[in-house]
């Protein structure tokens, strides 16, 4: 294989679970009664290192690693030196590209300047902070307790210790969030020394505390049209501040796009390390067992921790390509679509959802209002 292979490294621990989150993460007490983080995560790094060996046994490539992403969970709960061991193993096994992007997700509450410096020292060169909102009422609904001041400190320190690429994640459309709450959040984010912003409309995932609260009527999800308005507000403010959209929920300063995420959207190969992590290699998707102890058991017994896999059919691949490419600024090449598919969406040019200029140069790309109904347009194309 000559295709480059990216790596996702999952850290499945959090001090506390946020109400909206359905990620595969665990608090120490969920894993072991009375356990603290140190005791439950002890040895986890060794498991990751062993899985790298297993990966290399089945997926070899001549290309060095282009991107690595530490996500979670809360990766910054781990000792930077421990994370450094994972990087060292990856580097020794696969080699690093010269311009490798290594991202770590961070909680603005749990970092110190010293810790950030250490993360930079072990090789991290991009950091993404979970800011979510600047409005206390929204943070409360989301179960996030950080002081908005911490975000300013954390991003500033990150720049000071040498992170050139700093990103924040924002969430809009949460219960109780007003339009002015959101404007204040966007303005606050744009005050920060950052190069990249991800902004997501809140998705109520089934099984979360938030989903139960919504079902019981304890909190009310805002009107979808208001949430659409918030997207437009953010997009125009980001633009004015020099951040351009390159994926429908991501904006960056020139040259600061997240290469790791682009790999996902361009259907590149990547390997996910850790419990519940997904991988994609040459049209096959597979994913690991979810629970950290099952994962540990498999690795320690020298058995692949894969829970299940699916081999994509040609149609699956095509549907995924359309679904992912349409999210990107340049959209989809018209030459890659059938005449029926093109005919199905031509009316979206009239309604202003597809960009006429792009269409003129042979690409189907979304306008601002089109980005908000991307799934519907994909639906039209794949059912043509």
């Amino acid at each position: 294989m000559n295709e480059p292979l990216s790596f996702y490294v999952h850290i499945p621990y959090c001090v506390k679970r946020c109400g909206y989150c359905d990620f595969n993460t665990y608090t120490p007490s969920e894993l072991r009664e009375g356990g603290d983080l140190k005791s439950v995560s002890n040895g986890y790094i060794d498991l990751l290192i062993k899985e790298i060996g297993m990966a290399h046994a089945v997926a070899q490539t001549n290309s060095p690693i282009p991107t690595i992403f530490f996500g979670g969970g809360t990766p910054t709960l781990m000792e930077p030196t421990d994370l450094g061991l994972v990087l060292m193993e990856l580097s020794n096994t696969y080699g690093f590209a010269n311009d490798i992007e290594i991202t770590i997700e961070a909680n603005p509450d749990t970092v110190t300047k010293d810790k950030l410096a250490k993360l930079r020292d072990v090789g991290m060169n991009r950091i993404s902070f979970g800011m979510q909102s600047a409005a206390p009422n929204v943070l409360k609904v989301l179960d996030r307790t950080h002081d908005p001041e911490n975000v300013i400190k954390a991003t500033t320190w990150a720049r000071e210790v040498g992170f050139d690429e700093v990103s924040v994640d924002l969430i809009y459309g949460a219960p109780t969030e007003s339009i002015s709450d959101w404007e204040a959040t966007v303005d606050a984010a744009l005050e920060l020394p950052i190069t990249h912003i991800s902004a997501y409309a809140l998705i109520v995932e089934s099984g979360t505390k938030l989903a139960n609260q919504v079902r019981r009527g304890e909190v009310v999800m805002p009107d979808e049209d208001q949430t659409a308005d918030k997207y437009l507000i953010a997009d125009s403010k980001f633009n004015s501040a020099g951040f351009s959209w390159y994926e429908l929920s991501n904006w960056a300063k020139p040259g600061s796009q997240a290469k790791h995420n682009i790999a996902y959207w361009e259907n590149a190969n990547w390997w996910g390390l850790g419990p519940g992590a997904h991988s994609h290699i040459d049209g096959v998707r597979f994913w690991n067992v979810k629970h950290p102890s099952t994962y540990a058991e498999r690795i320690n017994n020298g058995v692949a921790p894969v829970q299940d896999s699916e081999t994509l059919t040609l149609e699956d691949k095509e549907n995924e390509r359309i679904m992912l490419e349409i999210r990107l600024r340049d959209g989809i090449a018209l030459t890659s679509l059938t005449p029926d598919q093109i005919a199905k969406v031509e009316s979206y040019l009239e309604t202003g959802h597809l960009d006429l200029d792009f269409w003129g140069v042979g690409r189907m790309a979304l306008t601002q209002s089109g980005r908000l109904i991307a799934d519907r347009i994909v639906q039209e194309i794949i059912s043509a």
Binding site: I203, L248, G272, A374, Q379
Partner: protein, 622 residues
């Protein structure tokens, strides 16, 4: 033992008419007719104990489940009277109990000399029973009043005996008291049938004349025709002829039902039985027609034959367009057994290919639909039922409209709609609510009588269209279920009627067009546009929904264009899940119907065509 061994009983074709008693049972749904019939089968021993099952005579699942009889049947019961010790042959003719089948009831009655008026003595007489009682009295039948369910704790036999006595002009103590459930009083009832009901009278030497009172399609035998011989004799050697069509048939088999078919040599004067001719379609052997023999035909038919006239029409469409041929086959098959069902292909822009079907009434419609769904495994959408209109254009050209979408658009001089005479029986405390309902529905009060101190009979003329809408559900809900309704067509009247069309993005949706009274057009328009706004999902563009009379818009709503339809997040681990979600939505999209450029989910059609009352019923079923 008063029962007689079948082998020793008087045999068909050689039974003296003086020994024959032909009777039917007039009763409302759930007043216990089937249970009483079961009991009679048991006591006369024509069904052995070990073969007995509940509602023995109801052959279709649907009959047994709904507790109603759709098709009648006749059973021959030998009986030795405890009063005079003589042998008798009792022919019990089962009658359908619903207003939709009044004509069939009248033919069953015409085959009898007497009727048991069976009334649940916890509920009292119901409007339909009363209507059938009047029908029996018009036919000069001897009426034996019987109070059923005397075993119930809530029974009020004295009260209802007084009511029945007043209705038929007898003494309260003349009412027999029975319990079909326990069998109490049933032996006495059988004896009274022998004693009170006159023997049939006919000329055994005259050319044969037999009345068809029922006609049933059997998959193996073809059409089985139930007859009552009035004059002469039918035998297997005969070639028979139908009076209405003049068509000649070979007689393949003659017999009686006791209660399983028993082949006989023939049928004589006054006898009741069946004939099989190899005919494959009940329309060739119609209820009310007269059978005679080809070689010695009678000069005149028995009176009273009528072609069934459909009163209510509705479009039936398969949910899945590919099922259209299955629906056609199922209707063809059903028609073999239902001479009253008419249908012709219909194409709806909104619902695709289907059939416009004519029914005797709402129950008939429900039964047909249920049988199509059950027996052919179909899922159907039916349009709101409508009646038949006669329109006269300015140039005098007349048109019969059975489908609102065919209602002429041009200048109309007059529209005529069918009118019925409706009878409502209810406790007197509901007089106010009933009158209010009838007034709202354009009714004219004809009169009111007290049946007893606290029960009244209220008579109105009403447009049939109002009854077809949701009158019965309203009546039931406004009288806590106590009122009962019967109606009969009495002609037509000119009405101030208009067609209201519903337009989606300027495009008419034929399935939603309705003919309504001018004063109710606005309310209908608002109701439909509001309902559709809630039912149709937001689209790529704004969709105006309008209600219009001709080119005049009377109500308007709009569905705003969709603004947000995207999942914000899509990273590595989300891709599979998201693709599968899109594939699932794709299946849902296939079930959308296109009205112009507007996608309308099938559920929206069904919900929009369902009245609130239907929705409540469906809930109750679940």
């Amino acid at each position: 033992m008063p029962a007689i061994d079948l082998a020793k009983a008087p045999q068909p074709a050689s039974t003296n008419p003086a020994q024959i008693r032909n009777f039917c049972i007039i009763a409302h749904i759930d007043h216990g007719k089937s249970t009483l019939a079961d009991r009679m089968l048991g006591i006369t021993e024509v069904v052995e104990q070990r073969n007995m099952r509940a509602q023995y005579l109801d052959r279709m699942d649907i009959e047994r489940e709904r507790g109603i009889t759709i098709k009648s049947q006749a059973v021959r019961l030998p009986w030795r009277s405890g009063i005079d010790g003589q042998e008798y042959i009792l022919n019990m003719i089962d009658t359908p109990g619903h207003v939709d089948f009044t004509y069939e009831v009248s033919r069953s009655l015409a085959a009898c000399e007497g009727a048991i008026l069976l009334v649940d003595c916890a509920q009292g007489i119901e409007a339909q029973t009363l209507a059938n009682l009047y029908l029996a009295m018009e036919n000069n039948l001897t009426i034996i009043p019987v109070l059923n369910k005397i075993d119930l704790p809530a029974a009020q036999p004295d009260k209802f005996a007084a009511e029945l006595a007043k209705l038929i002009g007898c003494e309260p103590e003349d009412c027999l008291r029975v319990s079909g459930k326990t069998g109490d009083g049933v032996v006495e009832l059988l004896d009274q049938i022998c004693a009170q009901i006159p023997a049939p009278v006919g000329d055994p030497d005259a050319p044969a004349r037999a009345l068809i009172f029922d006609s049933v399609y059997d998959t193996y035998r073809g059409v089985v025709t139930y007859v009552r011989v009035v004059d002469g004799h039918l035998s297997t050697k005969d070639q028979i002829q139908m009076f209405s069509t003049g068509v000649r048939h070979e007689m393949l088999e003659v017999g009686v039902i006791s209660p399983e078919p028993v082949v006989s040599k023939g049928l004589g004067v006054g006898e009741v039985g069946y004939v099989i001719t190899g005919v494959k379609d009940v329309r060739q052997s119609r209820v009310g027609d007269t059978i005679t023999t080809y070689h010695n035909p009678a000069k005149s038919a028995l009176s009273g034959y009528k072609d069934p006239i459909p009163m209510v029409f509705s479009g039936l469409f398969p949910l899945d367009g590919a099922d259209y041929p299955i629906l056609r086959e199922a209707l063809d098959k059903l028609q073999l057994n239902d001479a009253a069902l008419v249908y012709e292909p219909e194409t709806s822009a909104a619902l695709g290919f289907g059939f416009r079907c004519g029914f005797l009434g709402l129950l008939h419609m429900e039964i047909v639909r249920e049988r199509l769904e059950r027996e052919a495994g179909l899922s159907l959408i039916s349009t709101a039922p409508n009646v038949v209109y006669r329109t006269v254009a300015d140039d005098g050209k007349e048109m019969t409209v059975t489908n609102p979408s065919e209602f002429p658009d041009g200048k109309i001089a007059a529209v005529f709609e069918p009118i019925v005479r409706a009878t409502v029986l209810a406790p007197s405390e509901f007089i106010g609510s009933i009158m209010e309902l009838c007034q709202e529905r354009r009714g004219t009060l004809l009169g009111m009588d007290y049946l007893s101190e606290d029960r009244v009979e209220i008579r109105y003329t009403l447009p049939l269209a109002e009854i077809v809408f949701d009158f019965f559900d309203q009546l039931k809900s406004r009288t806590r279920g106590y009122a009962s309704l019967d109606y009969e067509p009495i002609g037509e009247a000119e009405g101030d009627l208009v067609k209201v069309d519903i337009l989606l993005q300027g495009e008419g949706v034929d399935a939603f067009s309705a003919i309504v009274h001018k004063d109710k057009a606005y309310a209908y328009g608002v109701m439909m546009t509001t309902k559709l706004r809630e039912l149709i999902p937001r689209q790529q563009f704004e969709v105006p929904i309008q209600a219009a009379i001709g080119s005049r818009i009377i109500a308007r709503e709009s569905i705003r264009a969709i603004r947000k339809d995207v999942l914000a997040k899509c990273y590595g681990g989300d891709i599979s899940r998201k693709r599968k979600l899109l594939e699932k939505q794709k299946e849902g999209k296939k079930r959308m119907k296109m009205v112009g450029r507007v996608e309308v989910p099938q559920e929206a059609f069904i919900a929009a065509l369902t009245t609130d009352a239907d929705a409540t019923k469906d809930k109750a079923k679940k």
